[in-house]
């Protein structure tokens, strides 16, 4: 059995320092996992990993895509059985057989993929399984009140009676968080809760997390955003390739060290994106895609948009500003109720995705679980799906050519494990995202619509993906890039269209845009202009 995790590494005798500083004895952990080992057929996902969660502390679990973070969480909450190791809760050894048992023991969890019921209302999704009852019957009014209260706590302006499935992924993620904080759990586990949220919601979430922490709740937090991790966490555990690297107090670990521990090599190998956004958007040339007054009632107000060949157009805006809605119109996934579209100066009507695909448009959806991965197929099949569909089902892709393409993109995007025959549902969330991206990149579309393409992808791979997108654009592909992470949009776009309240409010060149100027535009809606 592997040794229990080191209390901390680096930096003298931190435990002593801690007792000194707080002048109270260090509390004992609420949750202590040690020596956790999980083997899946062919992979050892976790190898003797330990984790300690302390009351009143936010603990960040760090690691690259596929490091084993979600697996460790699922071992804790009774989703997976572990082959070796122990879990104690409040000092009592526990072995949860189902998520229900873990919940019963006071562990409340938001899993990486949204795990709610799309057919039920927001209220029901929040209270499901612990509905307030009166005389043996569910008290609907009390349920609604409770949902309203917890949504209010997160400052979420949402109709609790609406069906969950009708909301965008980010809203669903927020509802999942609302569900998790609406308990008197002593442990709150959040697996990448912020992957599709923008700065505003992250701030709201952190406010709630801090309040819970101050009440003595132990919080386990996973994120690939280092800023967020440093902002919120008190302690970190770093995993690499299913092994425990170290546990640290956040204050005692520099970012450089953290990244080194996560990727196991020097940071310098993380290439930075050195792409000069082209200032000279050719206004005279016929744009590859031109939208005029394109809109859909209730989703997005009539909008003008030009996407030129070889250029990246970024869509910036808050959640609910109409980013996704606009992209879906461009792909024919929803029908426009007004306006017109031109491809290469030719008027087109995109009534269905099929029509859009025929025009050489590809769309990578933000909803990877619902509209992306086909779980029971292999990575190879998932990658080749779109290309095969484009060729028509009768013209099979030759085995060898397919293998080469798959290998090339799996390598370019660093998909792990690098096994094209693995079932995609067994991949980690970030790696699934890479596979989806590969699917659309290799069709070499003329216009690629990317909705949150780097959701849940670790910092190293994110830089790689951005580089790849830039390179494809340089080779002539047009890209529409949507992301909740503004920095990313700024870094990669030649032009940025700013959306607010379901309408486009500004269109700025990427070369001159700064974070502050775009934030300003989002906030003011271009009123000052």
């Amino acid at each position: 059995m592997p040794a229990p995790p080191p209390a901390t590494t680096g930096g003298g005798a931190p435990l002593l320092l801690e007792t000194h500083a707080m002048s109270t004895p260090a509390p004992s952990p609420v949750v202590e996992m040690s020596g956790i080992t999980i083997e899946f057929p062919g992979v050892r996902a976790l190898d003797g990993v330990g984790l300690r969660l302390f009351p009143g502390e936010v603990h960040a679990l760090m690691g690259e895509n596929g490091a084993g973070k979600s697996t460790l969480i699922k071992a804790l909450t009774g989703v997976y059985r572990y082959d070796a190791g122990t879990v104690t809760v409040d000092g009592v050894p526990q072995r949860f057989g189902t998520p229900a048992e873990a919940q019963g023991a006071g562990i409340s969890t938001v899993y990486q993929e949204v795990n709610l019921c799309p057919n039920l209302t927001v209220t029901e999704n929040i209270v499901l399984g612990r509905e307030p009852r009166r005389r043996g019957s569910i008290d609907r009014r009390a349920s609604r009140e409770r949902a309203r209260r917890v949504l209010g706590e997160l400052h979420l302006d949402l109709d609790p009676g609406s069906v969950l499935g009708r909301h965008p992924i980010a809203v669903q993620q927020l509802v999942a968080i609302a569900r998790a904080v609406d308990t008197d759990a002593k442990v709150l586990v959040l697996d990448e809760p912020t992957s599709s949220l923008d700065a505003g919601e992250v701030a709201e979430l952190f406010r709630v997390v801090r309040a819970l922490r101050d009440r003595g709740v132990a919080v386990l937090f996973v994120s690939h955003f280092l800023d967020q991790v440093y902002e919120i966490s008190d302690r970190m555990t770093v995993l690499r390739n299913g092994r425990l690297v170290a546990e640290h107090r956040t204050a005692e670990l520099s970012r450089l060290q953290l990244v080194q521990e996560m990727i196991g090599r020097e940071l310098s190998t993380l290439e930075h994106l050195d792409r000069e956004p082209s200032a000279d958007t050719p206004t005279d040339a016929v744009p590859r895609l031109r939208a005029r007054r394109l809109g859909r009632t209730g989703a997005i107000a009539p909008t003008d948009l030009d996407v030129h060949a070889g250029r990246v157009t970024g869509l910036a805006g808050l959640l609910g500003s109409g980013r996704t809605e606009l992209t879906r119109l461009l792909f024919g996934a929803d029908r426009a109720t007004s306006g017109s579209l031109e491809v290469d100066g030719r008027p087109v009507r995109l009534r269905t995705p099929r029509a859009a695909i025929a025009e050489g448009i590809a769309f990578c959806s933000e909803d990877r679980k619902g509209e992306g991965v086909v779980g029971d197929l292999t990575v190879r099949d998932n990658v080749l799906l779109a290309l095969q569909a484009r060729r028509g089902w009768l013209r099979r892709i030759p085995r060898k050519q397919g293998d080469e393409l798959v290998a090339k993109y799996m390598q370019a995007l660093d998909v792990r494990p690098a096994d094209p025959d693995a079932l995609i549902r067994n991949l980690s969330g970030g790696n699934q995202q890479k596979v989806l991206l590969a699917r659309w990149l290799l069709t070499e579309p003329r216009l690629l619509l990317l909705d949150e393409p780097t959701r849940g992808i670790d910092i190293g791979a994110k830089a790689q993906i951005q580089a790849l997108v830039s390179q494809l654009a340089a080779e002539g592909m047009s890209v529409v890039f949507v992301s909740a992470e503004l920095e990313e949009v700024l870094r990669i776009s030649d032009r940025i269209t700013v959306l607010r309240d379901h309408r486009a409010v500004a269109d700025v060149p990427g070369s001159t845009a700064t974070l502050d100027s775009v934030v300003d535009l989002i906030a003011s809606g271009g009123d000052r202009a």
């Binding site: 019921c117 029901e124 499901l128 509905e131 809203v171 505003g200 609910g320």
Partner: protein
């Protein structure tokens, strides 16, 4: 900073929007709303069919004709209620018709041997529930397809009927005949049977359980996304097994009501009745994929089937196969209507 909901219900309330349109929006937006919408469609269809009958045939408009829809189909209502539970979880129960037959045969043969009627009733209900429970356990624990498991259950139940008795056995027990022949008098020279009262009580209890208990909400959650329901900490296994047990119980109860209706036990009773029940549930607006539907819809679905049957028997000239053909067409229309009206648009 706040998050605005981008659901398709037009966010900006335009002035001058009529009450009708906002009611429609409510129906489309909320979950009870969209189920209610499907049920309303069924209700309208029922009224149209019945109205057509009233116009076409002189005596069709008598109140007793309408009440007879309930009297003649009390057993089917109970069956459809059990089926609704199963279908809401995304499953199916093909055994219910055979369990009806088994129930009539067990009841008739035991009564013939002189067993006390209450004991027979209890035993029949126990057998149905147990069979359903066993099928549910197989579906959940062995992760078998509900279609296959309940198909096996259907053959098993049907086979058992023949083992017990091949020829039809008449029922002469006092309690049974009493229940069958006495009626609940209603004003206007009309009546209902006790079987109808029982069926309506079953509908009411089912509606309460589905909407007002945690068990019921878990049924809907499983239909929406079983994996998520598990991760949310709901008792998925227990609920899935229970749903088949409920369907088994309802089939047995339906069998008892059917034996009141027909006063005999026969192994060839109720052939294909499970399909009628499924048709009723679908016509009632419940999605076969699970997660959406109301038990009230299933009641209306049974009445729609009953109305078609009455229309055809009133005509006299038409072969009863027209019933099947009409039901087939209706089913198709319904699935299409459901697609069009409840399609989730983003």
């Amino acid at each position: 900073m706040t998050v605005t909901d981008t659901a398709p219900a037009p966010a900006p309330q335009r002035p001058g929007r009529s009450a009708g349109r906002s009611a429609y929006a409510w129906l489309r937006r909320t979950d009870t709303g969209s189920s209610t919408f499907s049920v309303l469609v069924t209700a309208v269809l029922l009224v149209v069919l019945f109205g057509a009958g009233t116009v076409r045939y002189e005596n069709f408009g008598y109140p007793q004709v309408a009440l007879n829809l309930l009297v003649d189909n009390a057993h089917l209502i109970v069956l459809a209620v059990g089926m609704t539970f199963v279908i809401l979880t995304g499953g199916i129960d093909l055994s219910s018709g055979a369990v009806v037959a088994l129930s009539t045969v067990v009841a008739a043969s035991l009564l013939e041997k002189g067993w006390a009627a209450p004991l027979v009733i209890a035993l029949v209900l126990a057998i149905g529930t147990l069979l359903g429970w066993a099928m549910g356990a197989a579906v959940h624990h062995l992760q078998l397809q509900p279609f296959i498991v309940t198909l096996a259950g259907m053959f098993l139940a049907r086979g058992l009927c023949f083992v017990i008795s091949e020829p039809s056995i008449p029922i002469r027990d006092d309690l049974f005949t009493g229940l069958a022949q006495n009626v609940v008098e209603l004003p206007g020279n009309t009546y209902l049977t006790y079987a109808v009262v029982i069926a309506l009580v079953v509908v009411a209890v089912a509606a309460f359980v589905l909407h007002r208990t945690r068990f019921g909400r878990t049924v809907y959650a499983i239909g929406g996304n079983e994996q998520s329901a598990g991760l949310m900490g709901l008792a998925v296994g227990r609920t899935k097994v229970a749903v088949y047990a409920i369907s088994g119980f309802c089939s047995a109860l339906g069998g008892l009501l059917f034996s009141l209706y027909i006063l005999s036990g026969w192994s060839l009773h109720a052939i294909g009745m499970e399909l009628d029940a499924i048709a009723a549930v679908v016509i009632g607006g419940t999605l076969l994929t699970g997660g959406s539907g109301l038990v009230l819809g299933s009641l209306l679905g049974v009445l729609v089937l009953g109305t078609i049957q009455s229309l055809i028997s009133f005509d006299g000239g038409l072969s009863s196969w027209w019933t099947k053909i009409t039901i087939g067409l209706l089913l198709l229309v319904f699935v299409v209507v459901q697609r069009v009206t409840t399609r989730r648009r983003r």
